[in-house]
Amino acid sequence: MNQGAGSNAPVVEVESLRTRLDGHWVHDGISFTLRPGEIVALIGGSGTGKTVLLNQLVGLRSPDGGRVKLFGQDLAQLSSADLQALRRRFGFLFQDGALFSAMRVAENVATPLREHLPWLALPLREEIVDLKLALVGLPPDAAGKMPSELSGGMRKRAALARALALEPELLFLDEPTSGLDPISSREFDRTLRVLVDSLRLTVLLTTHDLDCLWGLADRVIVLFEGRVIGDGPVREVAGIEHEWIRSYFHTRTLE
């Protein structure tokens, strides 16, 4: 059995990316790569452009300089059809879920399946929807609810279920555990870890959750003043002598 065996080519490559927002450079030469099967956390203070960076990685926004490659393909050089095809291979969890408010939760999860795999018979589709909702730990009655009837944490889980619907190879998560209680957060981390290990998923997430950082992330990338000031395993990065990094990790050691 060779499940998940594949090339070790980088899934995400960012080369000296630059972004200008409101007259100043939010990103000033950012470079990093993600290899298959990694969970990488992107940290940085508020306003360091983490969400902007994620939007650029999925092609919602084009960078003002530098290059972004997903699965070895340069986003800037893809035709829109190729970009659409590429987009089926990754999932994106928006900060507030971005569930379609006019649809029930189950329909939200079924949408990518219906659009991209229209030949899938209804019972199979519903089976997958049920599975994804169960995987993210939503109670059964949530499936028939409208997103506006869910709590923030449940909306987040529903959105993750939708992001997982097409069995993506790459997941972008924008603050996946914010708004979840610590127990649900650890449960979320565990689910993500199993999914990553068994499906050889690659995950890039932004977070402010130190427990998630220590317990889940294989690697941490630290953004500070438009640059990457740390890139490595959590233990290594936490030891970097830099004022911001020290105070960031210090908030935990106080406990």
């Binding site: 059995m1 059964p140 506006s148």
Partner: protein
């Protein structure tokens, strides 16, 4: 995972001395699901004999594939805990375990279907609730108005003036244009009829009465219901979605004071004024047609108008407008406040505001027409 070299999935069932062995081959993934389903259905699994899963030739397994396999085996009387698993990688086992455990915790959702009686009951209940909420809204607005009378200093002048500009000033061009055109059309049609009787000068009587008493107030109110009513609902609704209204409440302010009253006053003040500009524009349009097509010079048009159109008719037309204004503002603000926290709700409520606003205006207008049938000439 899903590459061009993906392998067709299949499975074979061998029955040997030590029980049944199910061998899995190829890719057990989402995109292969229909094929998997068909394959699994052909197997004849004996629920009474132990089953072993052999993944020695399995290439890829994803959660959809694992889930389908376990569901099928479960239905065949081979639940996950009783299976013996051979040849799975550590990750594969973890995935099967995750899927099985999560499936256990969360049972299949029940699908609800609503019958006719439930639908009827649900709608009746919604109407009753809506009526109650509407009454509560009127009451709360009245309460806020009472507070304002006792504390006149709490008037939101800035918001009021912003609304006066939006509702009144910026609506003048469209209101005047519409009524000018109505005046033109009305005078033209009436003129053709009157010419048959050689009584073209009677056009002035008809146009003056029609525009001052009905057309100008009605057209203006319908325009304002569409224009400002929709704007109120959309604005208040987005504020509701964004929790801004909750923020106003937690600051110890009343959303009725801050949001509803300025809008209500703005429409109450502006609708009569707009109606008057509408009167002027409509009559100007009629005079234009009269001089160009009916041979009535503008001076004799206005001279006759002064004789046949008493001030009371104009005032009657304008007196209706505060009633229109009240209905439009209350419907629009209430509708905005009842938006639920999703984007579609804003659109639905805005549509309903415009429809209900226009219907209310026409109802009030007919009530006035029935209540005051006397027309002074």
């Amino acid at each position: 995972m899903v590459t061009s070299a993906a392998r067709e999935p299949s499975c074979t069932l061998n029955t040997g001395a030590q029980g049944q062995v199910l061998c899995l081959h190829g890719d057990w993934t989402l995109r292969r699901l229909p094929r998997l389903e068909a394959d699994l259905k052909t197997l004849d699994i004996d629920p009474l004999r132990p089953l072993r899963l052999d993944a020695g030739k399995l290439d890829t397994l994803d959660s959809a594939g694992a889930n389908h396999l376990l569901l099928h085996l479960g239905r065949q009387g081979q639940p996950f805990p009783h299976l013996s698993l051979v040849g799975f990688s550590k990750q594969g086992l973890a995935l099967l375990d995750l899927v099985a455990v999560r499936r256990d915790v969360v049972p299949l959702r029940a699908r609800r279907r609503r019958g006719l009686r439930q639908v009827l009951g649900w709608h009746a209940w919604a109407i009753a609730r809506g009526a109650r909420a509407g009454l509560a809204f009127i009451g709360q607005t009245g309460q806020a108005f009472g507070t304002l009378l006792r504390h006149p200093g709490s008037m939101r002048w800035r918001e009021l003036f912003v609304q006066l500009e939006m509702v009144g000033l910026r609506a003048i061009p469209i209101v005047m244009l519409m009524n000018y055109l109505i005046g033109v059309v009305f005078a033209y049609l009436l003129g053709i009829q009157m010419q048959k009787f050689g009584a073209s000068h009677l056009v002035v009587d008809g146009v003056g009465l029609g525009i001052a008493r009905e057309f100008a107030p009605l057209i203006t109110a319908v325009l304002v219901a569409g224009r400002s009513g929709a704007a109120f609902t959309a604005h208040l609704g987005s504020m509701k979605v964004n929790q801004e209204i909750d923020a106003i409440v937690t600051m110890g302010l009343s959303p009725f004071q801050v949001l509803v009253l300025p809008r209500l006053f703005a429409i109450l003040l502006m609708l009569p004024l707009l109606s008057f500009t509408a009167d002027v524009a409509g009559i100007a349009g009629a005079a234009q047609v009269a001089s160009l097509h009916l041979g009535i010079p503008a001076t004799s048009f206005y001279g006759r108008l002064r004789e046949v159109l008493p001030l009371s008719t104009v005032l009657f037309g304008l007196e209706k407008t505060p009633a229109f204004a009240l209905a439009i503002a209350m419907i629009a603000c209430h509708s905005g406040f009842s938006v639920r926290r999703d984007a579609r709700s804003v659109g639905l409520h805005t549509t309903s505001t415009v429809v209900r606003g226009i219907v209310a205006v026409l109802l009030i207008d007919s009530a006035f027409a029935v209540a005051y049938p006397d027309i002074q000439t």
